[in-house]
């Protein structure tokens, strides 16, 4: 049943990598705080933690993308300085990226040896024979059967992953970092990947495996380390790591600190937004949700669970294959943001700087962008009306800008978010979709955004909020939907929602959790 653990690794095997007291600060936030991590020869070491727990930062420190502010890294017992990605590569550390670093129009062998082609002669002539033979040999060594002359664009995601692995092997990597490698694979492909990982570790390589899937941890891991809020929580042997133990380690027990609460919980009005059976193949399936006036509905889930994709499809940025969206009982045509805006929808995207704002334009121009018709007569803009509207919002939302003519580029994250909000308030939107409304915003501004949401609810606006921050979701939402791998796995009233419960559902272990909780 278990292709790796128990069969291969000797628990007393040598430590190949040790990270000690790693600390990394970013402006305003400590991403890693004195984190320890070690990796043994022939081991699959799973790294888990909530969104933002510090997994990615730790990996980036290890592969040379970030320099730690404190702490040391030892490889084979020797202290090393990983100054850049090239150095990491030379030390035998290789990241198998989620987005593949491959050239689609070159073949498998050309990608494996990209930038390091075997040459002969003074002109830099490529020794194609050797290149194709070596590629084949490397692929054979991990039992992968892909013709080395196939163009990468003709490969499946799983096959591309194998090419990445082969590429890493070609420069003698010993430490493989895999960040959710199974996220986009079918179950058969996952099986194959696990076999490959098994053959890697049995030849003495080591794997750091990041995953959100609890069953995988037990299937291929030897040990598991939990991070939370940038801190090292603990390392367990997978055999002693039960679901409840891991979840409580990930969530922590002191939930009371820094709680977010809404003042206004109003009686909900008409159904404002109804989504039924929304499906986009490969992204999300059979999404049903409904939001009433004066209600905040949270959409929780792990990064990559399809929340943003659903929001984009509802608003009309992306198409969907089947299903329907109704706004106040009327069917919303698909794929048309213009119609959505007309019917009273507003979308505050996760990536403000790219999708929400024109950074090189003024506060005023951004605010009226979605409602130009209301500030113009017969197509001519009424500049006075435009200015009044903008100044009204600056006052109403307490937007910290010296003038409405200030370029948005120069404003802080929280202030920018308020400008985006003004843009939708100017359209008199009745349904607002917030995607990670407080990402990259400091604590003070966060509180202001929450109180604005509070205010909007009082006015009967319906709000759909995507957030990866559990305290935010739990504190703000009247109801919460949880998504996992493109499907809604649970729906909770605010009184029934706890951190543990949402995390369990987001990781696909909701029923087990409820069963355990019911027993206890």
């Amino acid at each position: 049943m278990n292709p790796v653990s128990g069969t291969v690794m000797n628990p007393e095997s040598r430590v190949v990598l040790a990270m000690r007291g790693i600390t990394k600060d970013f402006p305003g936030v400590r991403a890693l705080d004195n984190v320890d991590f070690d990796l043994r020869e022939g081991e699959v070491h799973v790294l888990i933690g909530e969104n933002g727990a510090g997994k990615s930062t730790l990996i980036k420190v290890l592969c040379g993308a970030y320099r730690p502010d404190a702490g040391e890294i030892l490889i084979d017992g020797h202290r090393v300085n990983i100054s850049d990605p090239k150095r990491a590569e030379a030390l035998g550390i290789s990241v198998i990226h989620q987005e593949f670093n491959l050239l689609p129009h070159r073949d498998v062998a050309q990608n494996i040896f990209l930038g390091r082609e075997p040459v002969r002669g003074p002109m830099g002539m490529i020794d194609f024979g050797k290149m194709y033979d070596d590629s084949k040999r490397i692929l054979d060594s991990i039992n992968v059967d892909i013709p080395v002359r196939t163009l990468v664009r003709d490969l499946s995601v799983a096959q591309k992953q194998m090419v990445e692995l082969a590429k890493a092997l070609s420069f003698n990597a010993r430490i493989f970092i895999m960040d959710e490698p199974t996220a986009t694979l079918t179950s058969r492909e996952i099986e194959r990947l696990f076999k490959t990982i098994a053959s890697l570790v049995s030849s003495g390589k080591s794997v750091i495996y990041i995953s959100h899937r609890m069953d995988e941890i037990h299937q291929i891991g030897h040990r598991v380390t939990v991070l939370r809020d940038g801190q090292y929580i603990g390392t367990l042997d997978v055999k002693e790591a039960s679901l409840e133990t891991l979840i409580s380690m990930m969530v922590g027990r002191n939930i009371g600190a820094g709680e977010i609460r809404r003042r206004n919980v109003v009686k909900r009005g008409r159904e404002a937004l109804k989504v039924s059976g929304l499906t986009r193949h490969g992204r999300f399936y059979d999404i049903n949700l409904s939001i009433h006036e004066g209600e905040v509905v949270g959409l929780a889930g792990l990064v990559g669970s399809g929340r943003t994709e659903v929001a984009r499809a509802i608003f009309g940025i992306d198409p969907y294959d089947s299903g329907e969206v109704f706004v106040f009982g009327e069917r919303l045509p698909k794929g048309s943001p213009a119609h959505s805006v007309e019917r009273g929808l507003g979308f505050l995207p996760e990536d403000r700087k790219d999708l929400g704002l024109a950074l090189g334009m003024s506060v005023k121009d951004n605010m009226v962008q979605a409602s130009l018709r209301s500030v113009s007569n017969f197509g001519f803009i009424d500049f006075r009306r435009e200015r009044d509207v903008a100044q009204g919002f600056v006052k109403q939302l307490r937007i910290a800008t010296p003038s409405i003519y200030r370029l948005v580029r120069f404003l802080s994250g929280g202030t920018q978010q308020k400008v985006v909000l003004s843009k939708w308030l100017a359209t008199k939107a009745r349904i607002l979709i917030f995607d990670e409304p407080t990402r990259g915003i400091d604590v003070g501004a966060k509180a202001e955004i929450y109180s604005l949401i509070d205010e909007l609810v009082k006015q009967g606006v319906a709000i759909l909020m995507i957030s990866s921050e559990l305290p935010e979701i739990l504190g703000i939402s009247d109801r919460i939907y949880v998504m996992r791998e493109g499907r809604i796995t649970g729906e909770f009233h605010r009184d029934a929602a706890t951190r543990e419960r949402i995390i369990s559902y987001a990781m696909g272990k909701g029923r087990e959790y409820d069963a355990a909780a019911g027993k206890g």
């Binding site: 990605p85 090239k86 670093n101 491959l102 050239l103 689609p104 129009h105 070159r106 050309q110 990209l114 930038g115 390091r116 082609e117 040459v119 002109m123 830099g124 002539m125 490529i126 892909i146 013709p147 196939t150 664009r153 003709d154 490969l155 499946s156 995601v157 799983a158 096959q159 986009t184 694979l185 079918t186 058969r188 492909e189 193949h281 490969g282 992204r283």
Partner: protein
């Protein structure tokens, strides 16, 4: 660019679901580049409709005209394969011709004059390459500026007048016939051979494809992206200089605006030849055929009495058609 398209936009997730294994090989017909069909089609049409098209004298003439376009298209192919563009080659060609012509008229030895012309092209190209690779200029802007600068200098140097009449020694470049084939065609063939070797047999070629495919991936693989960019623009400039030298020799006159429009024809040849603007794909074989198609087209339309404006229109239509066909094939494949 209106014909630019990002082939990487297809969402990977969707592909993963629908395609577990390498897709079936395309049929043999779709492997043959479309430009070859166009080539055969035009030869057939003009063979029937244009009087004298298939005469030996005319075919030699077409290959002569096509050779210079082929030379500059080869440089353009490398540039476009890295995801860039070189709008300056027409002007650089004129400038190189003017420099060579002036030196010849001033009594310089032929080899020196030729060398100066080639060097002029190389320097212009290297400046483009420097601005693009080191100062992060957009290729469009950098080479657009060079287009004006080179043309302007060519006009200033020559006072806007043609420099006619060169020594037989210099005219030999354009006029000689070796084993029945004009020397410019041999030169184009030699350039093709050298670029073919470096593009397909050496790490230089692998780097060009890598930079065009994704600068980020190339950088992470330790490829010196800046140096690759610098070299392709320098090569493009050098080949424009070579084209200028050959052209003024053949015409026995250095006209300061003789190269105008070569950038249009060269870009057309590359695109018709199947190298897309998205970079990282394509090759020089198609560009040679593209240059041949354009030369045949111009010659045939001339013989049929259709003037330059018509030629321009037809070439423009062909570019659009080439893109449409390529997009259709690509969409069907994915």
């Amino acid at each position: 660019m209106p014909w630019e398209r990002d082939v990487n936009m297809t969402p990977q997730l969707v592909r993963a679901e629908s395609q577990p294994s390498p897709r079936a090989r395309a049929s043999i017909l779709s492997k043959v580049p479309g430009v070859l069909y166009a080539f055969i089609f035009f030869i057939a049409v003009f063979g029937v409709r244009a009087r004298g098209f298939l005469s030996l004298a005319n075919l030699v003439n077409v290959s002569l005209q096509g050779s210079i376009l082929a030379i500059v298209s080869l440089g353009m192919t490398l540039v476009i394969m890295t995801g860039g563009i070189d709008l300056s080659i027409g002007s650089v060609l004129s400038l190189a011709g003017a420099v060579t012509g002036l030196l010849l008229h001033g009594g310089s030895p032929v080899p020196l004059a030729i060398l100066a012309g080639l060097l002029t092209g190389m320097v212009c190209g290297a400046i483009n390459g420097f601005l693009i690779s080191r100062l992060n200029f957009f290729p469009f802007i950098s080479t657009f500026g060079m287009m004006g600068i080179a043309q302007g200098i060519a006009l200033v140097l020559t006072d806007g007048a043609s420099l006619p009449g060169f020594s037989p020694a210099f005219r030999a470049i354009g006029d000689s016939v070796v084993i029945g084939i004009p020397l410019p065609v041999w030169i184009a063939g030699a350039v093709f051979g050298v670029i073919y070797f470096f593009l397909y047999k050496t790490t230089f070629g692998a780097r060009v494809y890598a930079v065009g495919g994704s600068k980020q991936v190339a950088r992470l693989s330790g490829i010196p992206v800046s140096r690759v960019l610098l070299s392709v623009y320098t090569i493009s400039g050098f080949l424009a200089g070579l084209g200028g030298v050959v052209l003024i020799s053949r015409m026995n006159s250095a006209n300061p605006t003789v190269g105008a429009g070569y950038e249009f024809d060269a870009i057309a040849a590359v695109v018709i030849g199947g190298t897309p603007f998205s970079g990282g794909r394509g090759g020089i074989g198609g560009s040679i055929l593209g240059a041949a198609v354009i030369s045949v087209l111009k010659n045939g339309l001339n013989l049929m009495g259709l003037s330059a404006p018509w030629q321009l229109t037809v070439i423009g239509l062909m570019i659009t058609a080439a893109i449409v066909v390529d997009v259709m094939i690509y969409n069907r494949k994915s």
